[in-house]
Amino acid sequence: MNNLVKFSIGIFLTLGIAWLAFVVGARTQYGDLLPSPQILEEDGSVSPDAELFPFELSGVAKQGAEEYAALGCVTCHTQQVRRVETGFDVKRGWGKRPSVPRDYVLQEHVLLGNSRIGPDLANLGLREYSNEWMHQHLFEPQSLVSTSLCPPSPFLYNEISEPVDSDIEINSGNQQDSSRFVRPTVRANRLVAYLQSLKQDYELPEVSYVEEDKDDSADLVVENVTPVTSSAPTWLQNQIAAGKEIYMKAAAGGGMCFTCHQTNGEGLAGQFPPLAGSDWVLGDKNRLIKISIYGLMGEIEVNGVKYNNVMAPPGIPPGSLTDEQIANVLTYIRNDWGNSASAVSIEEVAAVRASLKSRPAMQMFTASELSKPVQ
């Protein structure tokens, strides 16, 4: 104790042993854990065809994770479902199974958290909240859950006096007479994309879904889940539903859009541009209508990525979509997968069609042609 050097060696040794165990030891044990398929081959290897879990977060969701960390959401929300014997998390419906180390291997900042003033968010993306609900909740949680302690984040939104359909309507409990409209900033959209991406909806070799106890699950109270897009007016809901049908229909009279742009609107990297979050889809309606009537060919830049392919005039047979169908399907793609933009009306489509009367049918547009200022 009296020799400073020996004393230091002693105290660093005690610290060092713990460090060896928790940092070096744990790292050796699972520092290089990789995504894995649900079932391994019989020899324990990973089949090359198998789908690997967890997925990499999308770019927007990754940016959202940064926002989540910067706002300190982790102060009140955990992102971990505890093992059944150590907590009530699965019973509360916060996850279908306990979280395991592998769920987090692709995350840059692991935000497990250790305090639950708010509910656990590990599976928030599975709870079927619409993006609009999330935005409303971020803007003012108390407008949806009156007893919430979550701090409102109005600084992520711009209040709008002349709303368009994509803006978020806020009905504060204390000012019921007037509802306000706000427009999400890019940060709010990132955050919502991140929150929607939080899901552990896959099984891994080391963990399976917890068998539900039927008696218990019956009384589960799910709090204030507003049905998806409940606040959209009926005409808009109808238009979106009709548009979705066209998008998904692969028979005569359909649009068959999903085969290239995919059912999730993400397109295919390098081949078909995405519609979800696309600057083209959310941008000028006239361009979209023109593409929907005549098709598009050649190089096009979507969200900063170049694509070069041919899009024949949509419809089966090609170019057969009516004005109403085009209006519906465009309204649909502008309002799903997190997109939120104004609806397209039949009149708008008819007007564009009329203005292009001189153009020969089936003559596809090019991106550069469409980017020219509108005459």
Partner: protein
């Protein structure tokens, strides 16, 4: 000494127990471990006993709760018979092929394999699909041009299949062909990766797409009628 006492000179009084005394007396204490108190024997014994019990309890707790220092809780290994293993392998192969099909083929041939009349030929119950595996493999590898007759209808008016431009591995071709040959009521045998590699090597020098008749003549006996 009490520093709360009123201070005449605004300075604390010197206590009789200076810092030097503190150090010296405590050093003395630790050198001479027998405290001159009557219970000097009992206290250490109690501590030794309590500490011993603690170590005992802790070791038992450790042995019970650490799961033998494994990363994951143990998983039961299910023993499968060779037939079940084979079925599982084929099932995984087909589900992988289904994903490849959905991503790369369904935009023309449709998810239901029926194609589009007049433009894209059907794959469901097509003899081109269920013929020798070399046909479908060759088409995926090099593409197809010109008119072909499928299920009594002529196709070939729209763009030719040109798969050569899209990189696709032998394994992916094997998986997607197997899927196509066993989906929608098709019942042709599976295509192996080795077979695809052999076909790829055999026709590696061919630079343009196949013509329907050319392929048909290569595998004539496998086309019915």
């Amino acid at each position: 000494m009490s520093d709360d006492s009123p201070m005449s000179a605004n300075l604390p009084k010197n206590s009789e127990f200076s810092d030097e005394d503190i150090v010296k007396s405590h050093v003395e204490l630790s050198k001479n471990k027998h405290e001159p108190t009557q219970n000097f024997l009992i206290a250490p014994l109690v501590f030794v006993f309590v500490f011993g019990c603690l170590i005992f309890v802790c070791s038992i707790q450790l042995a019970h709760s650490t799961n033998f220092f494994r990363l994951h809780p143990p998983v039961e290994i299910v023993e499968l018979s060779p037939e079940e293993k084979e079925a599982l392998r084929l099932e995984r192969k087909i589900s992988s092929g289904e994903k490849i099909f959905a991503a790369r083929c369904a935009s023309c041939h449709q998810a239901n394999g029926l194609g589009i009349e007049g433009q894209f030929p059907p794959l469901a119950s097509s003899e081109w699909v269920s013929a020798n595996a070399g046909v479908i493999t060759n088409i995926i590898l090099k593409g197809l041009k010109g008119e072909i007759l499928v299920n009594g209808k002529t196709y070939g008016t729209s763009a030719a299949v040109n798969m050569a431009a899209v990189p696709i591995s032998d394994r992916e071709i094997a998986n997607v062909s197997t899927y196509v040959r066993q989906a929608w009521g098709n019942t042709a045998p599976e295509v192996t990766e080795e077979f695809v590699s052999a076909i790829r090597a055999e026709h590696s020098s061919k630079s343009d797409q196949w013509v329907g008749d050319e392929l048909k003549s290569m595998f004539l006996d496998s086309f019915g009628e």
